[in-house]
Symmetry: C2
Subunit: 182 residues, 2 copies
DNA sequence: GTCTATACGCTGATAGAC
DNA sequence: GTCTATCAGCGTATAGAC
């Protein structure tokens, strides 16, 4: 894997998470990297190839991170998960699901497929973590683990979207609300 | 106000809420309406004018609806608010904040301004409704009203985004989780 | 691997006739 | 109000030289 390939991947991911898939172009990549349009196409023949590569890389990262978190105490697992969003907020970036999900219908089918897989993996990890905390007695929430997981994922995702609009720390509010409810 | 103008507004709103602001064009409007590109530009000289008109119309609708809801019992007010999202889900549409928020940075400044206003109005109405329910004893939640409001808005917004991806009724899960926590 | 050159449809937008 | 005609620029993508 060439250095250029990785640089393209890094920049494209940043652009997608700043502006969305439909609002960045090969030019936005080739100009800052000081290469030509055609060079980007050499590494990623179509825009969908680029999008898929980014999602796949994120899946690998999440699998690695969540595996590490499995050794933590239940509450720390959830805090680690929320930490992803806090890190994103610090960089003024959205999570990849918030960046791609909104335009799901306009995405190439191959991208839709990997995005759905990634979404299922994250959701199911979080559900499991909440379920374990509940049966161990660490958590006292009343609803089902999947209901709580959906509440956490959805509210975290939108917090990053609303930050630039409200200019308020929505994420901190949501985080507090969630941690109090576990 | 001509009929054509309203038809353009209606179709554009639907397109924005299905695909986002950057993924629809004047052609997507002129072809189905069987008029020419230039006719759309006559009613809305620039794309930003169209976007702003849609947001302003939504602000008016929300002001009217929320005013009506003020007469309801606290719990019914929140249920009415959640009802907006359930209606959207039934039509496979996103809420306008979920449709526009993700591309906030790429929006024309004039659109950013009205979107921020609309966001503040919704947030502040919901905060007020929660606050009143809390002081009247109808609600027993522990966090502040703005924290709860942010939790509700963010989780509702993303539920509509995640529906096509998970193919699961995320909104129902989130709704249940929220109602249990009030 | 990267370049030059190029294709070609779509984009938002305007001028001027009717 | 709506039309025809037209614009310059951008979008993704490809062919072929080096």
């Amino acid at each position: 894997m060439s250095d250029t390939r990785t640089e393209i991947l890094n920049l494209a991911e940043k652009l997608i998470r700043q502006r969305g898939y439909n609002a960045f172009s090969y030019k936005d990549i080739s100009v800052p990297l000081q290469i030509k349009n055609a060079a980007v196409h050499y590494h990623f023949p179509s825009k969908a190839d680029l999008g898929i590569a980014i999602i796949e890389r994120t899946r690998i990262h999440f699998a690695r991170d969540s595996k590490k978190w499995d050794q933590l105490a239940p509450l720390d697992q959830i805090k680690a998960f929320i930490g992803i969003y806090e890190a994103n907020q610090a960089q003024r970036l959205r999570c990849f699901m918030g960046a791609l999900g909104h335009s799901y219908e306009t995405l190439p089918p191959a991208m839709q497929a990997v995005l759905a897989k990634a979404s299922a993996e994250i959701r199911s990890w979080l559900e499991g973590a909440l379920e374990k905390g509940k049966t161990s007695g660490a958590f006292g929430f009343k609803e089902s683990a999947i209901e709580k997981a959906d509440l956490i994922i959805t509210s975290m995702l939108s917090s990053l979207i609303l930050l630039p609009i409200t200019k308020d720390d929505v994420l901190a509010n949501v985080r507090n609300s969630i941690l109090m409810s576990l």
